[in-house]
Subunit: 589 residues, 2 copies
């Protein structure tokens, strides 16, 4: 009963009317990125998401993955392997890779629109190619020629998948505690030993090989995070020419029984002197891993976006259809037995909250993904550094805010269904269960918040903040007539002021960073969305689509009057300081 | 891995130190309510919850209920029937019923403390006796002598259970659409026909009979809610003397597959000319049903409270135990490999939010349940009316706020566990799944909000509001030295002002009621909790327990600086009016 239709019209509006992606692609000298071709690709992507993935979402949840402990193998639910084959056969896997690596050279930001569709259609399935993308990034940036030839190409082609093996039973967010070790073999490879947990796609039946990227310590490594190296550990060993050899001593020990994403295998992986190859510099593994993690964090933000949209579109359809009570101001549909839910103000509050967050988040997410293309194809070192800086700034906001909002939207959307939201048949409860992981994996909201306020703001002299505020000022100078400018400029000033205050306070009280980071991230996110709503309203009013102009303008008004005040709330909570958080002794809780 | 220990110390503090329940019980002329006996009962209740119910919570979730479609019967998970037998054998079922009805005559408010423990220990199991309680209330107030003798007594003894059969496939919140019908039989009984859905405990194997209280229309009934009557329809028919006869034509058609409360059977019930007895006046069924619903609403609020506490206590234990990263201000436990989670400010934010909401909610909930006793045993009609009025006012706040907070606390608590929160083994995800129903059943949050602002405030000239604000003023007069009074009085003034504004606006714009109700309810709830935190801090400071005084005072400070500002937020959103909610045409969403 739960459906997904890719919101192509809004995706195209954001990408082309709001963000001028076609122009940017031209400036970045992409080939074949004229609008007509891009639209055709998005339409094909929508067909794949709607017709291949959406139908296996609910059945995959009900069936889950099957683990055979005798063989240590995982079988994915019915339809998953076929969908993956179709994905590979249609060439989606290499959409953004360069020609030299066998890809089609399309922009990453375009693939990210597809990614939103994939995750909305079937989040669990989307996790298998997702981790490959991270492995591709790590191999592309840190792998040597042989590693790229032997491991990178088959992953790009989709014939193999990749994983990220970070977490161990005793360490999740704190990699300093990592224990896995790697001992050099005589042939220049390494024997990798250790147990990794929560490994998404660590074992499955979609491809013949799986390439694990594993963090471990060399024998002489210093303690802490500066003694961690990254290794390529294939499930099936490979010969010099990349052909498959015997199985490596890597084994899936079990899979987790989880709240949601039942069809995404979350594995305990045991490495027992498994053959591995050092990638990048010794003891610089975290550096290489961050390449994967940043890519994966944007990807998880897009998961949040996809779930927000799916939750919203299903709640909207139900609220228009379900008849329940009369509008308080008198019957709106007197010919029906009752009015549809959507006449009721509090249903509208929930729907408009979902709409305002989802469409605003789409702008913010796509803005971030465009920085990936800018960084990849910058014409100068300065342009590249600037795009990387801005991407780094936006990444924790996209990851944390879009995943928290996914949970919020799934919550509202389920509520619109009343009792039907709680039963499996309608699919809303699956969305809520699936969404719940997104604020946790690839760095919790708490980790993202520390990253934004610490590394990406205070340690970077607010470079990203200044760039974003520069955009806001430019908008208000260009469109002084916009009804949203006064509030937008006040919000931007608040954001700046709070940043300066935190920077001052953190030197006196080191707890200020941790005590402020969560509120700071959400203050930032709500100001960012305010800017995008002002831009969207402006772009819609400039278009020839009167219905779109009304819809965007009214939703922007809703955002400014009912959502943006959350920014003020976060600012005032932040300003209340760290003392109320830190005063109570742990033993007195 | 998920445990429950009844927070007896805090329960007793709230009941006796903050709310002076022992004194009140004496004033209300309860027998046997000296403190020592009450403490002994609470200790026994805790033993039952911790040792009988808590152990079947996770296994009950995993196993779920079994439906046999050939016989239309439901088997509850392993241990449920035994736990129910123990409950009945120990006399818990009749704890609050009068001596004349075979009960023990204890206060309802005491049973509600037990109810909190039951729901925290095993929410699904708690639903079976919960609905009996509603049936008891309806039969007690509206049943005739024969009905009370034949149906009420076995329910009080726990030998039979009761249900509430309201919802039909096409109508949930809107009972005006109800279609089930009842045709008089020659013997004075009725033939009841219709399909009811979402019937909690509609079928199970815990007792030999189930007494359904069913809303249906008489043949000559007017349309809408003024044509609904209430009927007693037993699963097994009874003879004049109450002995069991043959099965009635009532059959469970299926059970729902739900997000959570898997061990609570949610049934589709088919009545096919089933023998029923009119209870109360014809066409006044809604009136009788409200007796049940109010009792059930408080009960669901207590479910919220129980879940809040369980979520909090497990997250707290994990956060003290799990080592992850160092405090930003330097190692707090340098002898350990890392510091425990609880040193990190944002973990503290989540834990303190849970603690502040849970302990504050406990005061509010217990205050409401004390009104039940006051109403039941009032010495004058005026006292009775006042207690009923105040109970009616507090009920939607307790139901809506405590269940929404249960979801919030389960969310924070799960997040504290990181990836472990998402796997079944740790039990946090079950809490989150179970909690999600509580904002829906027995009237959604939206319905509660309309009830509070409409019936319980605007249509009652703000009687409940005035009484609550009177309490606040009395506190501040008595304790002018309390550091919390200035903020508390501003919050109370805001609450009053907003109420007056809404009352003004609603006459000009009927949508104001629906557009304001959600924010109004939460504004009210946060002001209520501010009052209770001021009272708790005061009571703790007056006690001889220095640790308690520190804990309550610091948590009150946290509440006032970091939670109470939500009230201001709700007020300002409410004041933004209905236009941004209502402007967008349904077709332009």
């Amino acid at each position: 009963m739960n459906t997904y239709k890719a919101p192509l019209k809004d995706m195209q509006f954001v990408l082309f009317n709001v963000l001028n992606a076609e122009q940017l692609y031209g400036d970045l000298k992409f080939d074949n990125t004229e609008r007509e071709l891009l639209d055709a690709i998005l339409q094909e992507a929508a067909n794949f998401a709607e017709n291949v993935l959406a139908p296996i979402n609910s059945s995959g949840d009900a069936e889950g993955c099957h683990f055979d402990k005798d063989t240590g193998t995982v079988r994915t639910p019915a339809g998953f392997k076929q969908a993956y084959s179709q994905f590979v056969e249609s060439g989606w896997s290499g959409l953004t890779a360069s020609d030299a690596l066998g890809g089609q050279g399309m922009p990453e930001s375009l693939a990210c629109v597809f990614k939103e569709m994939i995750d909305a259609a079937c989040l669990s399935w989307g996790n298998y190619p997702l981790l490959s993308h991270g492995a591709v990034e790590a191999l592309k940036h840190h792998g040597n020629a042989w590693q790229q030839n032997v491991f990178l190409k088959p992953i790009i082609q989709g014939n193999w998948t990749g994983t990220m093996c970070l977490t161990e039973p005793h360490c999740g967010s704190d990699l300093a505690l990592l224990k896995s070790r790697a001992v050099p073999n005589a042939d220049g490879s390494y024997a990798v030993t250790g147990t990794k947990i929560f490994i998404t796609g660590g074992e499955h039946d979609l491809t013949e090989n799986i390439i694990h990227l594993v963090l471990a310590r060399l024998p002489d490594a210093p303690a802490g995070v500066k003694g961690i190296s990254l290794f390529i550990v294939p499930k099936i060993n490979v010969n010099e020419d990349g052909s498959l050899e015997q199985a490596n001593s890597v084994r899936c020990g079990s899979i987790e029984h989880k709240m949601g994403i039942h069809a995404s295998a979350t594995c305990v992986m045991n490495f027992d002197q498994a053959k591995g190859y050092l990638i990048g510099e010794p003891n610089r593994g975290l550096n290489a891993m961050f390449t994967m993690m940043n890519s994966a964090r944007i990807a998880v933000g897009l998961q949040g976006l996809g779930l927000m949209d799916r939750a919203y579109q299903n709640a909207l359809a139900y609220s228009k259809d379900r008849l329940q009570s009369r509008a308080l101001g008198g019957a709106k549909f007197p010919e029906k037995a009752a009015d549809p839910l959507i006449v009721h103000p509090d249903i509208r509050r929930m729907l408009l909250t979902c709409k305002a967050l989802t469409e605003g988040a789409r702008c913010l997410a796509y803005q971030a993904t465009l920085q990936i293309d800018k960084a990849d194809r910058a014409q100068s070192a300065q342009d590249k550094a600037e795009a990387e800086m801005f991407l780094g700034f936006l990444t924790p906001i996209v990851k944390a805010a879009l995943t928290e909002w996914a949970n919020e939207c799934a919550y509202h959307a389920l509520q619109c269904f009343g009792g039907h939201g709680y039963v499996q048949e309608w699919g809303m409860e699956q969305l809520a269960r699936d969404a719940r992981i997104t604020t946790i994996y690839e760095g919790t909201t708490q980790i993202q918040a520390l990253d934004l306020l610490g590394r990406k703001t205070l340690h970077s002299q607010g470079a990203g903040l200044k760039q974003f505020i520069g955009q806001i000022n430019a908008f208000c100078q260009k469109h002084p007539e916009s009804e949203f400018c006064p509030q937008l400029q006040r919000a931007a000033a608040l954001w700046s002021d709070v940043t300066a205050e935190v920077a001052d306070n953190v030197s006196n009280d080191p707890e200020t960073l941790g005590a402020s980071s969560y509120d700071y991230l959400f203050l930032s996110a709500y100001v960012c969305l305010a800017y995008w709503w002002a831009e969207m309203a402006q772009a819609a009013q400039s278009s020839s689509d009167a219905a779109l102009a009304t819809s965007k303008t009214e939703t922007a008004r809703f955002y400014f009057s009912r959502i943006l005040p959350r920014a003020t709330q976060h600012a005032s909570t932040l300003r209340s300081g760290s003392s109320t958080l830190m005063a109570l002794d742990s033993e007195l809780f």
